[in-house]
């Protein structure tokens, strides 16, 4: 299971970093979100034990390993935050694409002047 997580996280990281470096702000924003998804998977993978049943439930008494609840709590927080940042980023890109008539980051360069 851990190997699967490691490979998936690695692939998502690579994809995200590649998209972030594209010359297109919308694709860069997607890369931003893919990177956060990779981190979320990483969080799930570092949980203390690979449980199959929820913690604090009656089935724990039945001898099954519970899953780690803390990483799930962290994960929920991280998902909400990354989702909010993604929404704000897309909103800003929408404003700037209307103003500059392009989403090429090399053409959005008024600050350099």
């Amino acid at each position: 299971m851990n190997v699967l997580f490691a490979i998936t996280t690695g692939i998502l990281f690579g994809l995200g970093a590649f998209q972030l470096l594209r010359r297109d702000l919308i694709k860069a924003a997607m890369g931003f979100y893919i990177l956060f998804t990779a981190i979320n998977l990483l969080f799930l993978a570092v949980g203390a034990f690979d449980g199959v049943v929820p913690a604090y439930s009656t089935s724990v008494a039945g001898g099954k390993t519970p899953s780690d609840p803390l990483v799930q709590a962290l994960l929920l927080t991280a998902i909400v935050i990354s989702f909010g940042s993604y929404a704000v980023l897309l909103g800003l890109i929408s404003i700037s694409s209307r103003r500059y008539r392009t989403v090429d980051p090399d053409s959005v360069d008024q600050l350099k002047k």
Binding site: L25, L42, F43, L74, V88, L89, I95, R99
Partner: protein, 497 residues
């Protein structure tokens, strides 16, 4: 073990956030909104002052949210250094709110301005007070998101571009922070700073923990705009509205500084010599790059943003030397720099608000302040304080820092830093002469009314006061450093044994 939950700690964080919620409800009425903003700013300031007082009398304060046992629940631990940084933040935030009340910018009249500003303040105070590494991430994100939106709604049309740039770069910093947190959780199974410190001190030190140190350090360097992660700062800070710029350039960059202090003095004490020698080099680069770039730049606001690199470099030198005297220097320097830099930025903003185009370009702004005696005196005082001329507080911070350098027997960085400090005098005096001493260009139509100068007046008076009566701040900083060097005090006050 201190089992008392001090409610003042919550006041510093949740008064601004509650004020933000309330002022969103009253979005239709700007007077009520500004009144609530001012009220919660004053409340947060009094709370941070109270937290500092309780720290001095009773030792580190702890708030266990939800009443969970310590290694498990979320806790807020303002120890002495945290509460000094918290007081610094809330003072500048209060100044920023007061400035915003008298600000002529259009963005200040938007109904979202005050809620966002208060959210930023709440995140800032939370990041200074938290004793939990994941809560640190949450508060930093709250601060970053509100400041990004505040810059995007700025009167400066380039704000949106700068906001996109910063949001993407800051996301990378957040990624570093999250990977560091994941690595720490995988290694130690805890997120509590005191618990991590105790486990690290027991000699348990797998490779993953050192990787986490690198990741956390990258994140903090990025948040503080330190070389090699500095490039976003001038654009992002210069396009911000003036009250936001004052808060960003003076206290938001200090969050990373506090993180670095915690990293070297609480968590990774065994790796600290390595981290410190790196910080020393980065500090020297920052001092030279910042001072020279400030000298060669074309815009009064941008010059101060570049000068922040240099000033952060001085603080890094103090952390890098790492002896108690040098750390006292770093803490005093950080506190004084926040007051000086925010007031200078507010005065520059007030001057450029009288320009028809609101620009602060040195080519246009010449002589605009010729008739403004108060701004003239305040800017001169602030500039001299930034350069470290007695009897202002900048002099005290330079002296404590130099004492630290002598104490650490590190003379080459010391000489370089003192030499580069003179460049500060050069660019501040040059800008002061340009803005206030020469007659304005004849075709320039200076507006009769601009932003109010009450907030910079308040902050500069604090600067003068802290220059003349420097002993309290230096004493408190000395106590804080004594507490820092014995990380057992922090661990015991959180975990109890």
């Amino acid at each position: 073990m201190n089992t008392f939950n001090n409610p003042l700690i919550l006041g510093a964080i949740f008064l601004p956030i509650g004020g933000a919620a309330l002022s969103l409800l009253l979005a239709q009425n700007r007077t009520y909104q500004h009144f609530i903003g001012l009220l919660s700013g004053i409340g947060a300031w009094l709370s941070t002052l109270g937290v500092l007082y309780f720290n001095l009398t009773q030792g580190p304060q702890v708030y266990r949210l939800g009443g969970w046992e310590t290694p498990y629940g979320i806790i807020l631990v303002p120890d002495l250094i945290g509460s000094i940084f918290g007081l610094m933040a809330s003072t500048v935030v209060l100044g920023g709110i007061i400035y915003a009340l008298g600000c002529k910018d259009k963005c200040v009249t938007y109904p979202v301005f005050m809620p966002l500003f208060l959210c930023m303040a709440g995140g800032l105070h939370g990041a200074m007070y938290t004793g939990d590494i994941f809560t640190l991430f949450v508060f930093i994100e709250l601060m970053v998101m509100s400041s990004v939106v505040l810059v995007a709604i700025s009167d400066n049309r380039l704000g949106v571009e700068a906001a996109i740039k910063y949001l993407l770069i800051s996301a990378l910093g957040t990624l570093f922070l999250l990977v560091g947190i994941a690595a720490i959780y995988a290694t130690f199974g805890t997120l509590n700073l005191a618990d991590i410190a105790r486990k690290l001190a027991s000699g348990e030190r797998p490779l993953l923990a050192q990787a986490a140190a690198v990741m956390l350090m990258c994140a903090f360097l990025l948040k503080s705009a330190i070389f090699p992660f500095h490039f976003w700062q001038p654009d992002f800070h210069t396009t911000a509205p003036t009250p936001v710029h004052a808060v960003l350039s003076s206290v938001v960059v200090k969050v990373g500084i506090l993180g670095l202090i915690r990293l070297t003095n609480l968590l990774f004490t065994a790796e600290a010599p390595l981290i410190r020698s790196l910080l020393l080099v980065l500090g020297l680069i920052g001092i030279f790059f910042g001072s020279l770039a400030a000298l060669r730049t074309y815009d009064a606001k941008r010059m101060l943003a570049y000068s922040t690199f240099g000033q952060i470099g001085f603080i890094l030198l103090g952390i890098g030397w790492g002896t108690p005297a040098a750390l006292v220097g770093a803490v005093v320097y950080a506190f004084n720099h926040a007051l000086i830099k925010s007031s200078l930025l507010m005065i520059t903003g007030a001057i450029s608000s009288r320009m028809p185009t609101k620009s602060a370009k040195l080519a246009d702004i010449g002589g605009v302040g010729k008739t403004l005696t108060l701004a003239n005196i305040l800017y001169l005082l602030g500039g001299l304080a930034l350069a470290g001329v007695p009897p202002l507080n900048g002099f005290i911070s330079k002296v404590t820092l130099i004492q630290g350098g002598i104490d650490a027997h590190s003379f080459l960085p010391l000489i370089l830093a003192v030499g580069a400090g003179l460049i500060t005098l050069l660019y501040m005096i040059r800008t002061w002469q340009l803005m206030f001493q020469q007659p304005p260009a004849p075709e320039l139509k200076v507006k009769p009314k601009g932003d109010q100068l009450f907030a910079p007046l308040m902050l500069i008076s604090l600067c003068v006061l802290l220059g003349i009566f420097a002993a309290p701040l230096v004493d408190v900083a000395t106590d804080a450093v004594t507490q820092l060097n014995d990380s057992q005090i922090y661990i015991t006050s959180v975990l109890g044994h």
